[in-house]
């Protein structure tokens, strides 16, 4: 089981997540797809940590999980705030900042 298999799996997961961000319009699902991409990055980090026999990559993956948790908290706070202001939960309708 070479490390290439894990890196390929990580690439597939990242592409699926990126496709989801491009296709979906609900901000909640876009956040979920961002999670997919961050997890794919985590998988690559852990795979390279295994390839080099060095656990520092795993520490990196843990910190990525912390940053992902922060992103989720702020993103969900934004979604709740948008819902309370009766704004449409659709990234194509939220275009007030467009020039």
């Amino acid at each position: 089981m070479t490390v290439t298999w894990y890196v390929v799996l990580s690439a597939v997961l990242f592409a699926v997540g990126a496709g989801g961000v491009l296709i979906r319009r609900s901000p909640l699902v876009i956040l979920l797809c961002l999670e997919l991409m961050l997890n794919a990055g985590n998988l690559a980090l852990v795979a390279f940590s295994r390839a080099h026999g060095n656990a520092e990559g795993q520490v990196f993956a843990l910190i990525v999980m912390v940053v992902a948790a922060c992103e989720v908290v702020v993103g969900l706070g934004l979604i709740v705030a948008m819902f309370r202001r009766r704004l449409p939960l659709n990234v194509d309708d939220l275009r007030e900042l467009r020039g």
């Binding site: 070479t2 799996l9 990242f14 592409a15 989801g20 909640l28 948790a69």
Partner: protein, 181 residues
């Protein structure tokens, strides 16, 4: 045996990821992400990352997904409109994702890293255990650890401010409307 475990985890992870993108109801997307995360934790176990796998299941599939489920239940299942503001987005977006995958595959095939085609070195006992990760985190990466805790604190305060301020502005709007009506 390890191939069976890897492909079971990989199919679970990729299937969960595709289900997250394909489900029309955001609530089902959240549940699909839980499947994806648990399958990915199994793949992490194959890479001798026990602590990361445990943290993945407990923190992600446990705590963060509960947050998502609550918000999905609070906001409700919003129907996505069928019209497309960008013409052809439904066809162009998967095409771009496939192009990204091809590009990543070219990068992996053409890599000069020699370690990528091996099983990796034989690991010392205790690789990836909480002891080792904790030692690294609190000795070598102490500054990173403290920065992460500060970031979490800022995010928590920011989320409370975001949710609380919207309530205040709404009551302000209602007060402003009150006398006029």
């Amino acid at each position: 045996m390890i191939y069976v475990a890897f492909f079971a985890g990989a199919i679970g992870a990729v299937g969960g990821a595709i289900a997250v993108v394909a489900m029309r109801n955001p609530f089902y997307s959240v549940l699909a992400l839980v499947i994806h995360l648990v399958a990915l934790a199994g793949v992490f176990l194959l890479l001798y990352a026990q602590f990361i796998a445990a943290a993945q299941v407990v923190v992600y599939a446990g705590a963060v997904m509960v947050l998502y489920v609550f918000v999905a239940a609070y906001v409700g299942a919003a129907e996505e409109p069928l019209w497309e503001p960008i013409p052809g987005q439904r066809f162009l977006a998967p095409l771009l994702a496939a192009a990204l995958l091809v590009e990543l595959a070219i990068a992996i095939i053409g890599t000069g890293l020699s370690a990528i085609d091996s099983d990796g070195p034989t690991l010392p006992a205790g690789f990836g255990t909480p002891t080792q990760v904790g030692n690294l985190l609190l000795e070598r990466f102490l500054v990173v650890f403290e920065a992460a805790s500060l970031l979490l604190l800022i995010a928590a305060v920011g989320a409370v401010t975001l949710a609380a301020r919207s309530r205040a502005t709404r009551s302000d709007v209602e007060e402003a409307r009150g006398p006029a009506a």
